[in-house]
């Protein structure tokens, strides 16, 4: 009997489903029901079953794996709809979450509002206990106090508990004991313990990450449990996996306990698909993915097939310090609003018209000119297109908005003003790409851009030109591409531990023991019967630095030895020189942490394919022509317009040209060529360059 695998990616507007196992991959999309993600997932599966001529129960019964990228945790952060969290912390440190290390994001603006608190002060309680910087207990845990705090937080209506004590990364015994007491006093409590969530130095970042976990945990867990129950009731018996922020997957039954690691579950899918598929199907292993939606622009760098991982970021202005894809987000999207300030400067974003009222051209009452309005006015978008399937775009409204609010104020012609909006927003995107490349020591010219999202491929050619990039890859169906990404993800677990020492003097046996303990933790998550692969990294720094670089610790066998440590030190010097412009090779290299990433092989890897495997190239005739404005010098240029549906693999044409796909637009700028390969990926190449 035919077996299937299903990938699901829930986005803000659409839920994409990919089913592998049929003669060819099936991909389809259904609208996302706001606030009811599970429903959308089941709708999509029903639709897929229908396509195969199967009942839902038949399809699900034959499905081995279902991999899900979800924005459920992210949405709770954005909407402030997480749990009411109670926190227990070391006496004297009640307010770490409130100080946020003193951070204020606008230093000249006293009207800046505080972020929404993760835990109200009334629910932040303290207990006497203390472990010192050497890991010694200097004040025993007051267990009665813990009991009393748990009871009172429960009585106050808290829905989850976070426990964070000072120096628990050196000695977790107090946190563990407090957790036991919490379980006794409040059986079944949803508990987040800092030494489990993030056993790393820096109490603010650790407590904040733990509190975020407690905040999004209950909602995420109940969502996943409900979805899994529905799937099982419909006959699903396979593996239910969720995509993590770092591109690994985790069992859906335990994912809710580590919801903080799902905050980038949505965008991770696209990055993962790019990293897994494109190096095998094209000649590009160095990629920069960009995803431009209505309000934001997400950028991630993939070096040699490996997406960059960061040790943390700010999410809704709270520190989240778990490893995740280094996705850099800037506030530039199709809905970004353009305006002229009193000094005649033109600004675009970060304010966005969103989707309601949306750009002026949506005709829903939006009066502010947006990037989408500029794109429409200049001919990049199809003036005959509809929005949301029914509403026709209103070019007149776009013109009026740009004329009144930009052109007339700044003293430019209409086209020039619209083009100015694009130049400003393009420059912001270029800066954003520099942040993930140049600032990390990578030369963008060594990379290809990968454009997703409805608007990504409208602008990508400009960023490529600014940065000297020769190739832009555009997966034809970006949503499906993201959903597919999850199916290639590796079941993976990461465990961290603090280790303080130096590469030249550390006791290798102590490191070996620590490493073994971490591997053991992974086995308990991933199953010991699987053939696990463990990668070990150490966090290194020079004396005095507090910003580490993680480098691989390469072992021969299972033991850490002196040679492995020396190798790590060397890699650290190299990385420091590459990323930070100098190395101090004669100085000792300090170690602050150890991480083991354990994985079992993904059951599926993308087939290798050559993009040239199409029998012959074809020169498709454009569906029509339209005047498009590419520069002030050239003015309006009569440009061939292709409908994506008309293009088959092998299609090849020169720019300027525009391709309209059902939910995205690809702009081939003058001086560029476009080719659709056998894997349904558009290759935009600067003329004279062949990929």
């Amino acid at each position: 009997m035919q077996r299937y695998e299903i990938g699901v990616d829930v986005g803000g507007t659409f839920t994409d489903i990919v089913v592998l196992g049929g003669e060819r991959p099936l991909s389809l999309k259904v609208p996302t029901a706001p606030g009811r993600q599970a429903e959308s997932v089941l709708d999509g599966i029903a639709k897929a079953a229908g396509t195969f001529g199967l009942a839902v129960s038949e399809l699900l019964a034959r499905t081995d794996r279902l991999v899900h990228g979800t924005t459920v945790a992210t949405n709770m952060m954005i909407e402030g709809s997480g749990a009411r969290v109670g926190m227990i912390t070391t006496a004297g440190f009640r307010d770490e979450l409130e100080y946020r290390r003193g951070r204020k994001e606008a230093i000249y603006d006293p009207t800046l509002e505080p972020p929404r608190p993760l835990v109200l002060r009334r629910h932040r309680t303290t207990v006497p206990e203390r472990i010192d910087a050497k890991g010694r207990v200097c004040l025993a845990l007051d267990e009665d106090a813990v009991r009393e705090r748990v009871r009172s937080l429960r009585a106050a209506g808290c829905e989850s508990l976070a426990i964070g004590f000072l120096f628990s990364f050196l000695d977790a015994s107090h946190e563990n004991r407090a957790a036991e007491i919490a379980n006794e006093e409040w059986p079944g409590v949803d508990l987040s313990v800092s030494s489990e969530i993030l056993p790393q130095v820096r109490e603010y970042e650790r407590f904040s990450t733990t509190a975020v976990n407690a905040y999004v945990g209950p909602g995420t867990a109940s969502y996943l449990a409900a979805l899994e129950r529905e799937l099982e009731e419909s006959g699903f018996e396979g593996e239910f996996l969720v995509v993590k922020s770092n591109g690994g997957v985790i069992d859906g039954r335990i994912a809710g306990q580590r919801a903080v690691s799902l905050l980038l579950s949505g965008p991770a899918g696209g990055v993962l698909a790019a990293a897994e598929i494109l190096p095998r199907r094209t000649r590009h292993g160095n990629l920069i993915t960009i995803d431009m939606g209505g309000t934001s622009y997400d950028i991630c760098l993939i070096a040699d097939g490996a997406p960059r991982i960061t040790a943390g970021t700010w999410i809704e202005r709270h520190a989240v310090a778990v490893p995740m894809f280094g996705i850099h987000t800037i506030g530039a999207g199709g809905g970004s609003i353009a305006r002229v300030d009193a000094g005649n400067g033109l600004h675009v974003g970060p304010a966005s018209a969103g989707s309601d009222p949306g750009p002026a051209c949506y005709g829903r009452g939006g009066r502010e000119p947006t990037v989408t309005d500029a794109n429409l006015l200049l001919g990049y978008l199809d003036p005959a297109a509809t929005f949301g399937g029914s509403v026709k775009l209103d070019v007149g409204a776009a013109r009026a908005a740009i004329r009144e609010r930009v052109a007339d104020r700044i003293g430019l012609g209409l086209e020039e003003a619209a083009y100015g909006i694009l130049r400003v927003v393009n420059a912001q995107m270029t800066h954003g790409i520099r942040v993930v490349s140049v600032q990390q020591g990578h030369d963008p010219r060594d990379f290809a851009l990968v454009a997703f999202g409805g608007n990504g491929a409208v602008h990508a050619g400009r960023q490529a030109e600014d940065l000297g990039i020769d190739t832009v890859l555009v997966p034809r169906a970006a949503g499906a591409f993201s959903a597919l990404g999850g199916l290639f993800a590796t079941p993976r677990a990461e465990h961290l531990a603090t280790f303080v020492g130096r590469c030249d003097t550390a006791d290798p046996d102590a490191l070996s023991a620590l490493r073994r303990a971490l591997c053991e933790k992974s086995r308990s998550l991933l199953g010991s019967d699987h053939d696990l692969h463990h990668e070990t990294r150490v966090a290194c720094h020079y004396a005095g630095q507090t910003s580490e670089i993680w480098v691989p610790l390469e072992l021969t066998g299972e033991r850490v030895d002196r040679r492995a440590l020396e190798g790590a030190a060397l890699r650290f010097h190299d990385a420091h020189e590459r990323e930070r412009s100098f190395a101090k090779r004669s100085e000792p290299v300090h170690v602050i942490g150890l991480e083991v990433t354990s994985s079992r092989p993904s059951p599926r890897t993308p087939a290798r394919g050559s993009s040239g495997s199409v029998a012959s190239d074809s020169k498709p005739a454009p569906a029509r022509h339209r005047d498009v404005y590419f520069s002030k010098e050239d003015g309006w240029v009569r440009t061939p317009i292709h409908e994506g549906a008309d293009l088959a693999p092998g299609a090849r044409f020169e720019g300027p040209a525009i391709v309209h796909e059902p939910d995205s637009t690809v702009v081939v700028y003058p001086g560029w060529s476009c080719r659709l390969d056998a894997s349904e990926i558009y290759h935009l190449e600067r003329s004279g360059v062949e990929s």
Binding site: R94, R103, K104, I107, G544
Partner: protein, 592 residues
């Protein structure tokens, strides 16, 4: 090789101006990121006490780091360093040269702030100067940390550097670096100097890319136009203010040498689209290190004015071109050499910013917000580290939390005023792993935020216990003169400075803690004041007062005393009837 374009007669199109401005701001951000990642002392890597900016060949401020670490108290002052480099080395600035300066009488703020300036040349023509100003932990002086409250002359405050050439055409001058190293107590100096150099080099490299893309002519005119835009925007805002003279005055408790209640007086003269900030009437210069250098006074005035304007206005030379500054000679806001000045970036710099904010209460009361850190001086703890025997030196950057005021519509929050919002409080764990003490408490203290319709943020109590003998230097200010409330709001609480906690020697310092010995088992406890409130506290929504009580920002007694809000016996609800009665009675009394 790109040729320099001749300067076009007309400015580039407005969009190119925006693109170049954005690029230069990004350059400053990249420099700043490089500094943070490469520095070796926690004052940079954890607490970000440094700033990056780009100046031009006329020492105009073109762009500053916005999204990364930057301290407004550095920003207005940096151009003076470039000015002094240019005047010292006129006609003798070469590709690959790097300059260093710290002297407050040569465009510096105070001696610990080293400013590194590196020119970008194109075809032999000077174009722009990326620069880093960074607070080195120790630059000599009588006492570790270089905050010397007993100094009466600048020479006692550390090694003075007029502009010197630290790199000669690409080569580091090792002789000078060795000399500098010899004049600091810390072995980390070279590492931090390298970090500054790395940041400057990133700036130079990135600006060179910009030059090769647009040519010098376009960049120059884009910079001119960026500044001109700022000028237009600032003038437009000034013009919307009613003409008149507006006064404000702030006080610093003492100079540590017997002079007390040192005033900064500010008169804002608004005439059409012109603003003059006149500090005439400020106290004559004093004996100790609270005097302000010219550069530092500029910074504090401009940051206070910038806080009153649309935050979107680029922080560039436009501020210097639009705002006239009158500084009385031989005064505490414009000291003559050789007066000592090391504390000035904090206080009296903070009082300068406060005086400007208080004067703005007459123009823009809703927004008037004192950008002040009433810490006196960096609190320096030092001694022999029990494990290494080497000197340790901690600036207590984990401890400086307080003084965050309310504005109209918004309670004070976050534990620090905005202008320190990119410099970060150190984590207690990092501090304890490095220094031999234990932090017993760092928490907000109820009833310390100034009462008001919008409440000032609570102040912080920080308690440190000492594991090893050490000495402590600090300046106990903000006791007589806490942060003032606005528009009828209450003042923030006063600072309290207690040493010898837990021993018989426990006492509250009244003025100066200098070489205070701390023995194992003892400690110190600083209660740092709250922010000022805004508006009449009797008008605060009683439900918000109840929330404050439930959250412990205000005590039940405080609710009744400061806000005339009475809670029910269980403390869970507002007793509306009693509250109404109490408020109307006491309003009436107040009216009489």
């Amino acid at each position: 090789m790109t040729r320099a374009f001749p300067t076009p007669a007309s400015p580039p199109d407005p969009i190119t101006v925006d693109v170049i401005r954005g690029f230069l701001e990004t350059v400053a951000d990249e420099m700043s990121l490089t500094m943070k990642r490469t520095a070796v002392t926690p004052i940079f890597s954890e607490s970000s006490d440094y700033s990056c900016a780009v100046m031009d060949d006329r020492s105009r401020l073109i762009a500053q780091a916005l999204r990364t670490a930057s301290l407004p108290v550095h920003m207005g002052a940096m151009k003076f360093s470039v000015e002094s480099v240019l005047s010292a080395f006129e006609g003798d600035v070469h590709d690959g040269d790097v300059f260093l300066v710290n002297d407050p009488y040569h465009g510096g703020s105070h001696i610990p702030d080293l400013t590194m300036v590196m020119p970008v040349h194109h075809d032999g023509e000077l174009v722009l100067f990326p620069a880093v100003r960074a607070h080195q932990m120790d630059t000599g002086a009588i006492t570790p940390g270089s905050y010397s409250p007993t100094a009466t002359e600048i020479w006692q405050e550390g090694l003075r550097l007029p502009p010197i050439r630290i790199c000669d055409r690409g080569r580091i001058r090792e002789d000078l670096v060795r000399m500098l190293e010899l004049n600091t107590r810390l072995p980390t100096f070279r590492g931090d100097l390298l970090a500054m150099l790395a940041a400057c080099r990133v700036g130079v490299r990135r600006i060179a890319e910009l030059v090769s893309k647009y040519g010098i002519g376009v960049i120059r005119t884009a910079c001119d136009e960026s500044i001109a835009r700022g000028v237009r925007r600032i003038r437009a805002e000034i013009e919307s203010w009613p003409d008149g003279d507006y006064e404000g005055e702030a006080f610093l408790d003492h100079d540590g040498m017997g002079t007390t209640d040192i005033n900064v007086r500010c008169t804002l003269r608004v005439r059409g689209d012109r603003l003059c900030v006149d500090l005439t009437g400020s106290h004559p210069q004093v004996r100790s290190y609270v005097n302000s250098s010219r550069a530092n006074t500029h910074s504090n005035v401009y940051l206070a004015v910038a806080t009153m304007l649309d935050p979107e206005i680029s922080k560039n030379e436009a501020f210097f071109e639009t705002i006239d500054l009158v500084l009385p000679a031989h005064s505490v806001v414009n000291a003559d050499a050789p007066a000592p000045v090391t504390a000035c970036t904090l206080n009296i710099g903070g009082e300068i910013a406060e005086a400007v904010a208080y004067a703005f209460e007459g123009i823009l009361p809703e927004r008037a917000y004192p950008q002040t850190l009433k810490i006196g001086a960096l609190v320096m703890a030092f001694g022999a580290h029990p494990e290494t025997g080497e000197l340790f030196l901690d600036a207590n950057m984990d401890s400086a939390a307080g003084w965050s005021s309310a504005v109209h519509g918004l309670d004070g929050w976050g534990g620090l005023p905005n202008h320190y919002g990119m410099s970060t409080l150190a984590n207690a764990e990092i501090v304890e792993m490095r220094f031999p003490y234990r932090i017993a408490e760092r928490e907000l203290v109820p009833d310390t935020g100034g009462a008001g319709r919008w409440r000032g943020c609570c102040g912080t109590r920080i308690v440190k216990q000492v594991d090893s003998p050490m000495l402590l230097n600090f300046s106990a200010i903000g006791r007589r003169w806490p942060v003032r409330g606005m528009a009828g709001g209450g003042d923030g609480s006063a600072n309290r400075w207690i040493v010898g906690c837990g021993t018989e020697a426990e006492r509250e310092e009244q003025a100066l803690g200098y070489l205070v010995p701390l023995v194992p088992g003892s400690g110190f406890s600083f209660q740092l004041g709250g922010g000022g409130g805004w508006g009449d506290p009797f008008e605060r929504d009683p439900d918000r007062v109840l929330d404050d009580v439930l959250d412990g920002y205000v005590s039940r007694e405080g609710a009744q005393r400061d806000y005339r809000v009475v809670l029910t016996l269980d403390g869970l609800r507002v007793d509306r009837e009693q509250t109404r009665a109490l408020r109307s009675r006491d309003r009436g009394e107040r009216a009489r």
